[in-house]
C-alpha cells in the first residue's frame, strides 16, 4: 500500500497535465466539427479531392465526418497515440525509476519480495490509465453533447473507451516489460517510444497498401477501428482477447525479468 500511495503521489502532476491535454484536444476537435457543420460546404466532397495518403495518415478514412459520430471516430487514432505514449512511458519509468534515481538500494533492501514492490507500481499505472480513460470519456460525452443537441452518445463512447482501455493496458505492460528487461530507464523509454512509432507507421502502411494488410496483426493500432466502434457499435472480441492475453504475458515477463535482475546502484 505504501508503494502504491507513493507512486500515485509521484505521478499526480503528470497525470493532470496529460488529462488537461486530452480535454483540450477533444474540446478543440469538436470546435472544428462546429466549423464544418456551420459552413454548409460539402465536406465529404472536399475531402474526396484530397490524396488518399493524406487522409489515411490523419485517420480520416471512409467515414462520413459530417455526422458527429463519424467525426468523433477520427479522434480514436489520436487517442490511441496519446494513450500509447502515456501508458508505455508510465510503465517503462515506474519499473526502473529507482535505479535511475539511484535509490534501488533503498527500496529493495526492505523486507519485501521484489514483486511486492512491482505490483503496487503497476497497480498505480492501471489506476493512472483508468483516470486518463475516464477523463477522456467525460470530456468526449460533454463536448459531443454540445454539438449534438445534448446527446452525448454515451453508449458509443463507452464502447470506444473500453477499446482504448484495453490498448492502454497493453501499452502499460509493454512499457513495464522494457523497464524490467533493458539496462536503464533511458534505454527502456527510447525503445518503447521507438516501438510505438513503429506500430503507428506500420498501421499507416497497412492502410495505404492493401498488399500489406497481413501485417495488421503486428500493430495494436489496427486492432480496433474508430469507425466500427462509433458507427457500428462493434468491438472486436478476438482483438480484445489477443491484446489482453499479450498484456498478461508482458506483465508476467516483467515480474520474471525484474526478479532476475542485478540492480544497479
Amino acid at each position: 500500500m505504501n508503494v502504491f500511495k507513493k507512486e500515485m503521489k509521484a505521478n499526480i502532476k503528470s497525470l493532470i497535465i496529460w488529462c488537461c491535454a486530452q480535454v483540450f484536444i477533444i474540446f478543440a476537435g469538436m470546435m472544428k466539427y462546429q466549423g464544418f457543420s456551420d459552413s454548409q460546404v460539402d465536406v465529404n466532397a472536399l475531402f474526396a479531392a484530397f490524396p488518399e495518403e493524406i487522409m489515411v495518415v490523419f485517420g480520416i478514412g471512409s467515414v462520413d465526418i459530417t455526422k458527429v459520430a463519424g467525426f468523433y471516430s477520427v479522434f480514436f487514432l489520436y487517442f490511441m497515440l496519446l494513450a500509447a505514449v502515456h501508458a508505455t512511458m508510465f510503465g517503462a519509468v515506474v519499473v526502473s525509476k529507482e535505479e535511475r534515481d539511484h535509490c534501488a538500494d533503498f527500496i529493495y533492501t526492505k523486507p519485501v519480495h521484489r514483486f511486492q514492490v512491482i505490483w503496487p507500481k503497476l497497480l498505480a499505472g492501471i489506476i493512472n490509465i483508468l483516470i486518463f480513460n475516464v477523463v477522456t470519456f467525460g470530456a468526449s460525452v460533454f463536448f459531443i453533447a454540445q454539438h449534438n443537441n445534448g446527446d452525448g452518445l454515451i453508449d458509443k463512447v463507452s464502447l470506444t473507451m473500453l477499446a482504448l482501455f484495453i490498448l492502454q493496458l497493453f501499452f502499460l505492460a509493454l512499457g513495464a516489460m522494457f523497464g524490467a528487461v533493458l539496462k536503464n530507464t533511458k534505454r527502456a523509454t527510447a525503445a518503447a517510444a521507438g516501438l510505438v512509432m513503429g506500430f503507428f507507421i506500420l498501421s499507416v502502411a497497412v492502410d495505404l497498401y492493401s498488399k500489406l494488410s497481413f501485417l495488421k496483426i503486428f500493430t495494436p493500432f489496427k486492432y480496433f477501428e474508430g469507425a466500427s466502434l462509433m458507427i457500428n457499435d462493434q468491438l472486436s472480441f478476438s482483438s480484445a482477447a489477443i491484446l489482453l492475453i499479450v498484456s498478461l504475458v508482458f506483465f508476467g515477463l516483467t515480474f520474471v525479468a525484474f526478479n532476475r535482475r542485478d540492480l544497479n546502484t
Partner: protein, 296 residues
C-alpha cells in the same frame, strides 16, 4: 552462532570480475571489519548478501537462511547503509524516513526523532537541499530506525565531519552492546581499528586474510624505527618476518612479525643514536596487501 556465512561466493558482471570465491563468516554480536581498496569487491559482496545482485556461484546465509531465497524475511532484521546514499529527491527527510519505516512491522516512530537528534539532522528539509554528509545522516537513521539485529555499513563515514563520525561510532557501539551484529566495510583502516574486533581483507575480488585485530596488533607486529650513527647495512636487517623495510637518510624503518630476540641479536655491535619500538597502525600492517603485486 554465525550471523553471516559466506561460502565460495563468486560474482562476475559479464566477463568483468566482481568477486571470486569469497568465504568468511561473522559471529553473532561482533563488529566485523571488511577492508579493501576501492574496487576490491566490498560493495559487490554486500549487495549480494542483500540480494540486490545475484551470485554467479557460491552461496551465503544470514541468520542461517539462504540470502537469496529468504531475502525478504532476512531483510526484516537488517539495517543497511549504502556507500552512496540517494533518496527520492523531491521528498522531505521525514517523509523518506516514514516511508522507510512503513516497510517494517512495529516500528517505534519516536526513534526516528531521537536518532535524528543524535545525528543533528533536520527532518523538515528536502532531500535535494541536503549536503552529502547530511544525506549520509539520513542513511544512518534510515538504517537504524527499525532496530536491526544485523547492521551492514558500506563505507559509512564518507562526508561526515570528525565530530559526527565520533557520534556515529558511539551509536554503532550502543547498538552492538544491545546485541546487534555489525558488518563494517571501509577502506579507511584507522576507523576499522577503532571499532572492529575481527577483519577480513579483500583485494582484487578475493579474500586475502581474516584476522583478529588485537592479536595481530599486539602479539604479532612491531614497528621499528632505528637511527644509526654512520652507514646503514640494510641487508643486515632483511630477515624473515621483516616487511615495509625502508631507509630515510640515517634512519631505518620496518615492521617485524616474529620472535623479537632475533632483532635484538642483529642489533648487537650496531651503533645507534635512537630506537623506537611501537605498535603499528593497521595501515602500516596492511599496506603490503594494498599495493598491487608487480607484474613479472
Amino acid at each position: 552462532m554465525n550471523v553471516i556465512e559466506i561460502n565460495q561466493l563468486t560474482k562476475y558482471y559479464g566477463k568483468h570480475r566482481g568477486i571470486e570465491n569469497v568465504s568468511f563468516s561473522v559471529e553473532e554480536g561482533e563488529i566485523f571489519g571488511f577492508i579493501g581498496p576501492n574496487g576490491a569487491g566490498k560493495s559487490t559482496t554486500i549487495r549480494t548478501l542483500l540480494s540486490l545482485i545475484h551470485p554467479t556461484s557460491g552461496s551465503a546465509t544470514i541468520f542461517g537462511k539462504d540470502c537469496i531465497k529468504y531475502g525478504n524475511e532476512i531483510r526484516r532484521d537488517i539495517g543497511y547503509l549504502p556507500s552512496e546514499v540517494f533518496y527520492y529527491e523531491h521528498m522531505k527527510v521525514r517523509e523518506v524516513l516514514n516511508y522507510s519505516a512503513s516497510f517494517y512491522d512495529n516500528v517505534d516512530y519516536t526513534r526516528i526523532q531521537s536518532l535524528a537528534e543524535v545525528m543533528d539532522l533536520d527532518l523538515n528539509k528536502r532531500i535535494d537541499d541536503l549536503s552529502y554528509g547530511n544525506k549520509k545522516k539520513v542513511g544512518i537513521v534510515q538504517g537504524l530506525l527499525h532496530e536491526p539485529k544485523l547492521i551492514i555499513l558500506d563505507e559509512p563515514t564518507g562526508g561526515l565531519d570528525p565530530l559526527m563520525q565520533q557520534k556515529f561510532f558511539e551509536l554503532i557501539r550502543t547498538e552492538n552492546q544491545k546485541g546487534a551484529t555489525v558488518l563494517f566495510s571501509s577502506h579507511i583502516l584507522s576507523e576499522v581499528q577503532k571499532l572492529c574486533s575481527r577483519v577480513a581483507i579483500i583485494k582484487d575480488g578475493t579474500i586475502v586474510q581474516v584476522e583478529n585485530i588485537r592479536d595481530m596488533q599486539k602479539h604479532n607486529y612491531k614497528k621499528f624505527t632505528l637511527e644509526f650513527k654512520g652507514v646503514i647495512d640494510v641487508h643486515h636487517f632483511n630477515l624473515d618476518g621483516v616487511t615495509n623495510l625502508s631507509v630515510n637518510e640515517d634512519t631505518l624503518h620496518f615492521l617485524f612479525k616474529g620472535d623479537i630476540n632475533r632483532i635484538v641479536e642483529r642489533l648487537q655491535g650496531q651503533s645507534l643514536l635512537n630506537m623506537l619500538v611501537e605498535e603499528p597502525s593497521l595501515e602500516e600492517i596492511f599496506m603490503h596487501y594494498y599495493q598491487k603485486e608487480e607484474q613479472p
